[in-house]
């Protein structure tokens, strides 16, 4: 009921909104992808090659719209599986939480609000510019992720904790209706990261 009302109202605003919300609501969600388990990489005998292969698998998550949309190359996030620029225009701002008067929390609550398909999390925010992934190769993302000057001063243990436990990272696997979740599960992704670290954190070329 809620959604019908919302859509009817959007249609009412018509021209002004150019149907942005309508398209979001009607985009069918493709089936969720999977991640290979860590054990499946044991067949790669050479440690460095195994490490790089594990990171390549992680790339399915890192380069997924759920992650890249908020690790944008510009100050404006993207949204939807089609990765169009965020509507309305919002920017990273001083601290990743938006501009004065238009913070992320103006629209994004602590949880997804499914009737209007507005996603949410306790600390909804944009990744810092140093962590931009959009338009980068997986090798570049890998180097960036390892670099404490660009990864929020995290060592491997802190990275693993961040990836395995952070609620906003975890949101990528429970994005609500209309958005494809990141492949696999947060636990699997955390396990891959750990295995990558243990095999020498080698970046794919």
């Amino acid at each position: 009921m809620l959604r019908q009302t919302a859509l009817a109202a959007v249609a009412g605003l018509g021209l002004a909104l150019a149907g942005t919300a309508i398209t979001t609501a009607q985009t069918p969600t493709p089936p969720a992808g999977t991640l290979r388990p860590v054990e499946s990489f044991q067949s790669i005998a050479q440690r460095e090659a195994r490490s790089a292969a594990i990171f390549t698998e992680m790339g399915k998550v890192l380069q997924h719209p759920r992650c890249v949309n908020c690790h944008p190359a510009t100050e404006r996030p993207r949204q939807t599986d089609a990765q169009r620029p965020h509507q309305p225009l919002v920017v990273r701002g001083k601290d990743g939480h938006g501009a004065p008067g238009m913070a992320c929390s103006t629209c994004h609550g602590k949880e997804n609000f499914d009737p209007a398909r507005v996603p949410g999390d306790g600390h909804w925010a944009l990744a810092p510019a140093s962590m931009a992934w959009e338009g980068k190769t997986l090798g570049q993302i890998c180097e960036q992720l390892k670099d404490p000057n660009r990864n929020g001063s995290r060592d491997m243990a802190a990275l693993i904790k961040h990836v395995a436990e952070d609620s906003l990272v975890g949101w990528a696997w429970r994005p609500g209706p209309g958005r494809q979740p990141a492949p696999g599960t947060q636990d699997q992704f955390g396990a891959l990261l750990k295995a990558w670290g243990e095999t020498g954190a080698v970046c794919p070329r």
């Binding site: 809620l2 009302t5 919302a6 109202a9 959007v10 605003l13 021209l15 002004a16 909104l17 942005t20 919300a21 609501a25 509507q87 309305p88 225009l89 919002v90 920017v91 501009a99 004065p100 008067g101 238009m102 913070a103 929390s105 103006t106 629209c107 609550g109 602590k110 949880e111 609000f113 499914d114 009737p115 209007a116 398909r117 507005v118």
Partner: protein, 152 residues
């Protein structure tokens, strides 16, 4: 289910589902109709209220998530609010008026955080508030005028 909301300094208990938008509670249960419904999906800004002084789209805020104090257009006060109201009046900003309570809630919130906004600051703060009558140019002029009047 009963939810207690603090709106404009008064406590209200509303008996609605947990995922009922705050906007509906404000308009239908509490009877404050200054806050408008435009889209219901955080795309137009007509429903903007403040929670603990921060602008929030009440159409996508379920009542169960409201913890702070809600302020609606009816209870807007303070020097920034007076400056905005005066500038809106002098410059004759509204046309049909439908979007304007949302515009004013956003404009006052901007001036409280940034007393001297540039054109860019205004665009970034206000672009989530759509106006079908396209009063955008007057809104920008009026925010600058309000900012100037606050300087003195």
């Amino acid at each position: 289910m009963a939810h207690t909301l603090s709106v404009n300094g008064r406590s209200h208990t509303v008996d609605v589902d947990a995922d009922t938008p705050l906007l509906w509670a404000i308009r239908d249960n509490i009877g404050l109709t200054g806050t408008k419904f435009g889209c219901g999906v955080a795309q137009c800004g007509a429903c903007t209220v403040w929670i603990d002084g921060q602008p929030v789209r009440s159409c996508v805020t379920p009542v169960s998530a409201v913890e702070g104090k809600v302020t609606t257009i009816e209870a807007l006060e303070g020097k920034e609010a007076r400056a905005v109201q005066a500038a809106w009046d002098t410059i004759d900003v509204p046309q049909c008026g439908y979007c304007q309570s949302g515009q004013v809630m956003s404009a006052v919130a901007l001036l409280k955080e940034n007393p001297k906004p540039s054109d860019r600051d205004i665009d970034l703060a206000m672009n989530g508030n759509i106006c079908r009558c396209a009063t955008y140019a007057r809104i920008r002029t009026a925010i600058h005028a309000a900012a100037r009047s606050l300087e003195g």
